[in-house]
């Protein structure tokens, strides 16, 4: 029988994987996918809690989060494109004009 713990653990694992992607990848698109994975891990947690507590709020939150994620995608892609146009390269390890 699946309990809320299973979902919590799964969502934690997914969240960590997403965070890991941000840390180890250099391409902002992939890092961004990692962030999306983190958000969706949270969505999973929301849905699971909502289901087990029989409280519909959590599911509504998922919609909100999805919308926010979509808006983030729009902004993120725009930034990636702008950077690519400016320097033909989007490797985050080479974007280090600002430091110190």
């Amino acid at each position: 029988m699946l309990t809320v713990t299973h979902f919590t653990v799964l969502s934690a694992i997914l969240f960590s994987l997403g965070a890991l992607a941000v840390l180890i990848r250099r391409n902002p698109l992939i890092m961004f996918m990692g962030i999306e994975l983190m958000l969706n891990a949270v969505n999973l947690a929301f849905v699971a809690f909502s289901r087990f507590m029989e409280n519909m709020d959590g599911q509504v939150f998922v919609f909100i989060v999805l919308t926010v994620a979509a808006a983030e995608v729009a902004v993120g892609l725009a930034l990636v494109v702008a950077i690519f146009r400016a320097r033909d390269n989007v490797d985050m390890d080479e974007i280090d004009l600002l430091k110190g």
């Binding site: 919609f63 999805l66 979509a70 808006a71 729009a74 892609l77 725009a78 494109v81």
Partner: protein, 118 residues
């Protein structure tokens, strides 16, 4: 609980099997005489040019982004539709407000030339 989903499961199996059998049988029985032209990507009858792995015009990205933004708003229509009958006037006004905001964005993208197809 799992009983509720049993018909769904049956349907899934049947549909997968149907597709697999169709493709599999035609692959087994059909004659195969490949030529260079036959091996080309199908482009609605047009001759294909260049490789598929090339850069795409950046305007496509804009279309994609606009699509995502407007597409994602659809998810709010589902819960709205589910409860619509319970308070039609109220919910209609709500949705009108929502759509109006979207419309502002639409007009903005349109006037800024986001849809221009040149």
């Amino acid at each position: 609980m799992s009983g509720d989903y049993f018909p769904l499961f049956v349907m899934l199996v049947v549909s997968v099997a149907f597709a697999a059998i169709g493709v599999g049988v035609s692959a087994l029985l059909g004659p195969r005489r490949p030529t260079a032209i036959k091996g080309q990507t199908y482009e609605s009858g047009m001759p294909s040019i260049g490789t598929a792995r090339r850069r795409v015009w950046v305007r496509y990205y804009l279309v994609a982004v606009v699509f995502i933004l407007f597409d994602i708003e659809i998810i709010f229509f589902y819960p709205w539709a589910v409860v619509f009958r319970q308070a039609p006037i109220f919910l209609l006004v709500e949705m009108l407000a929502f759509v109006t905001i979207l419309l502002v964005g639409y007009i903005y993208v349109w006037r800024k030339g986001g849809f221009d197809w040149y």
